[in-house]
């Protein structure tokens, strides 16, 4: 029987992150983690980390603002 086609590295990383997210911190947004993974995948061979860090910082900030707003509105 032929071995099934393996997942691409990016898909595998996302799949593992998602499994651990569900198990450990289901409150962390799936999309946010997937977007962090995409940024890291894009920049994995760069020694200069300033650009990916800036992108992740902005991304998390956006999710944090949305959640803060959501929490305020739900009160």
């Amino acid at each position: 029987m032929a071995t099934p086609e393996p997942l691409g590295p990016a898909e595998r990383v996302r799949e593992i992150l998602e499994e651990n997210r569900k198990r450990m911190h289901p409150d962390v947004p799936t999309d946010m983690l997937a977007e962090i993974a995409a940024i890291e995948e894009q920049n994995q061979f760069d020694d200069d980390r300033a650009q990916p860090r800036r992108e992740i910082r902005e991304l998390v900030d956006r999710y944090a603002r949305a959640r803060a707003l959501e929490e305020s509105q739900s009160k």
Binding site: V13, V28, E41, Q44, P52, I56, V60, A64, A68
Partner: protein, 667 residues
């Protein structure tokens, strides 16, 4: 995914002037480039590598100098520059982007006799989608398509195969760790590792920002300050931990090196022991030889007896015969004298002593006649029946027997055989001793004790470092728990800015926890994938159907498995090459980036069946494969049948009389 469209070479290696190699720039492309040894196959591979990364490799795997790269004829004519231009397609998920990369290196006008690297300058041009970018974007553009760190899996030669074969044989060396890192790079592990490192950095940043903001609020200021203080302590602890881990790594490396030295020396210690034993055996053999020689000399003194032997034997026999005669005469004399005495006594008496009857006269006369005959006989043997002669004969015979030879010559012969055997043993032992002495020549006798002492010191140091690490880790956990307590105290503060910053910090913290847990999950899963893919490829490539597959270890080293699941410990050079190709094939299937594969002389040590299997496999290795082969590896008429429909173009490197190479498309 990067695909080649065109390679343009100018004054590079054996290529004088400008030469081009065109591709379809599409998937499922297989190009065969034929060229004899020294024609310029490796230079073609080097041209691509040099254009992308600015480095070309010589045959030993070292970096080639620019002076050697520039074509000799062009140089002689004063054209002291070389350039390579690559036109590629960067195929994205939704669209293709045309990329043009040109690297040129030329001698500085001001230098009369350029040779060192500082005597040359580099010009890099990069165009993406028809737009000219600044030269400093060249490396970024290359990096986004085919980073240098994973290029070894795409642009590879016999050297790469050898590196992998070494990895398969020995997985504990520095070199093996280096290859393991490269493998993890191509498999995309850095995406997870750098994600974790980035989140550590961002969490710290977010946490500090939150505390700065919290200090502005009187009710939680104290907790914020306390947390800030703990974070500073954590920073120090982390720095200490990093330094200790560096020391641990250093100590482990040093211990490994000392152990390697000791292993080397273990062999020398064995040799020293062997030398002492050889010397002991030699001394004993020489002593034995001397004893045998002495015995031979002693026996030699007795050899005269062997010369006298026939005469002695004859004389002794004569004497023994005489002795027998004398003994017989003496015995007869004794018997006769007794008879004479008895008869004379009868003659003196007048009647028989038994019956008392008077003895008749005729009988008396017969008795007298018998006595007379006895007296005559006694007279005859009186000379022979000589007791003193018998005694003399006995003494003489005994003496003659004493001087008779006791196998002197045969004894010497046995000794000669023994001595010849001892000489052979001494010769062999001498040769063994000379070999061991050659091993030990120039070896410092203090080496082993010094290394053992060093190992002991290092182990002690490592123990201290590891204890320090353990303490620092415990302290870190303690500090992190303290931080949690302060955070709990500050959590109730529901001021909008603080709330947003707290949520951001918590998101970083939780994302980091997810990443930390995921790194080992990824590497474990990748090893399983590599093993599965490599095994599948290996089964396609190997001609030995008793092999079931491959098993991977921590460092991506692969062991061949037999059908019963046992390891196959010994494998041929051809099998090593097939295992290495299986690993490379698996890595390309699982790679974090896809790109064109250029293989230089990949069939060197393979038999015909393996070559055929690999040729069938090669088109599946990557989307675009270029094979650089020589006539000794592939016979186009005979070997290409299995992939005939898959070859998209064939190019020949012609090497003309003036040692210039050119690329010619085969009809």
């Amino acid at each position: 995914m990067m695909l080649l469209k065109k390679i343009e070479i100018e004054n590079f290696g054996p290529y004088y002037g400008t030469h081009e190699l065109e591709f379809n720039g599409d998937v499922d492309e297989l190009i065969l480039v034929y060229g004899e040894n020294m024609a310029g196959k490796t230079s073609l591979l080097n041209a691509v590598r040099w254009c992308l990364y600015g480095e070309a490799k010589d045959r030993a795997g070292g970096a080639m100098s620019t002076r050697k790269l520039i074509n000799g004829d062009a140089w002689s004519e004063g054209d002291r520059r070389a350039s390579v231009t690559l036109e590629v397609v960067d195929r994205g998920a939704s669209e293709d982007t045309a990329v043009r990369l040109k690297r040129q290196r030329q001698a500085k006008q001001s230098v009369a006799d350029p040779d060192a690297e500082r005597d040359f300058t580099t010009h890099c041009d990069v165009q993406v989608g028809g737009n000219i970018l600044a030269a400093d974007k060249f490396d970024d553009t290359v990096n986004s398509m085919l980073p240098a760190s994973i290029s070894r899996f795409f642009l590879f030669d016999g050297e790469l195969l050898r590196e992998y074969e070494e990895l398969l044989q020995e997985d504990s060396t520095t070199h093996a760790r280096h290859v393991k890192r490269a493998i993890e790079m191509i498999l995309g592990v850095p995406a997870m590792q750098s994600g974790k490192a980035d989140l550590v950095h961002l969490l710290k940043e977010a946490s500090r920002a939150y505390n700065r903001e919290a200090k502005k609020h009187a009710d939680i200021e104290e907790s914020a300050r306390a947390e800030e203080k703990i974070e500073d302590e954590i920073d120090h602890l982390e720095q200490d931990l990093e330094s200790l881990r560096g020391q641990q790594e250093q100590a482990l490396g040093d211990i490994r090196r000392v152990k390697e030295e000791l292993l080397k020396h273990e062999h020398l210690a064995e040799s020293a022991k062997g030398l002492a034993q050889a010397e002991e055996r030699l001394a004993s053999l020489r002593e034995e030889r001397e004893e045998k020689r002495q015995s031979r000399r002693d026996l030699g003194k007795e050899l005269w007896r062997d010369v006298l032997d026939p005469r002695l034997k004859h004389e002794t026999a004569e004497l023994e015969r005489e002795q027998a005669r004398v003994r017989k005469a003496l015995s007869e004399k004794h018997d006769l004298e007794r008879e004479k005495k008895s008869r004379e006594e009868s003659l003196v008496a007048s009647e028989c002593s038994t019956c008392g009857q008077p003895i008749p006269e005729d009988l008396r006369l017969r008795e007298q006649s018998r006595v007379d005959k006895i007296v005559d006989r006694l007279g005859q043997i009186s000379e022979l029946a000589d007791q003193s002669r018998l005694d003399q004969l006995g003494t003489t015979i005994r003496r003659m027997r004493e001087i008779a030879p006791a196998g002197v010559a045969s004894g010497i012969k046995v000794l000669e055989t023994d001595l010849a055997q001892i000489d052979i043993k001494i010769f062999k032992e001498d040769r063994r001793k000379a070999e061991v002495e050659a091993d030990l020549r120039g070896v410092d006798k203090k080496l082993v004790p010094d290394f053992e002492q060093k190992r002991e010191q290092l182990s002690k140091h490592l123990g201290q470092v590891e204890m320090g690490i353990s303490k620092a880790e415990e302290a870190l956990v303690e500090k992190q728990n303290e931080i949690k307590a302060h955070r709990q105290a500050m959590k109730e503060k529901d001021e909008p800015t603080l709330k947003h910053m707290r949520i951001a910090r918590d998101l970083f913290e939780r994302s980091l926890a997810v990443y930390e847990a995921s790194v080992s999950d990824l590497t474990d899963g990748l090893r399983v994938d590599v093993e599965e893919q490599a095994s599948q490829i290996f089964r396609e490539l190997t001609t030995d159907k008793t092999y079931a597959g491959l098993r991977i270890n921590e460092n991506y080293g692969l062991t061949i498995l037999a059908k019963d699941g046992s390891d196959v410990p010994v494998r041929s050079a051809g099998a090593e090459q097939v295992v290495a190709l299986s690993l490379i094939g698996a890595l390309n299937r699982l790679a974090a980036r896809r790109g064109p594969v250029i293989m230089d002389t990949p069939f060197g040590r393979l038999d015909r069946q393996h070559r055929e299997n690999i040729l069938r496999f090669v088109p599946t290795l990557a989307d675009q494969v270029t094979l650089l082969v020589h006539s000794g590896e592939i016979d186009p008429e005979r070997d290409l049948e299995p992939i005939k429909g898959k070859i998209t173009s064939e190019v020949e490197i012609l090497h003309n009389e003036s040692a210039r190479s050119e690329l010619v498309e085969k009809a």
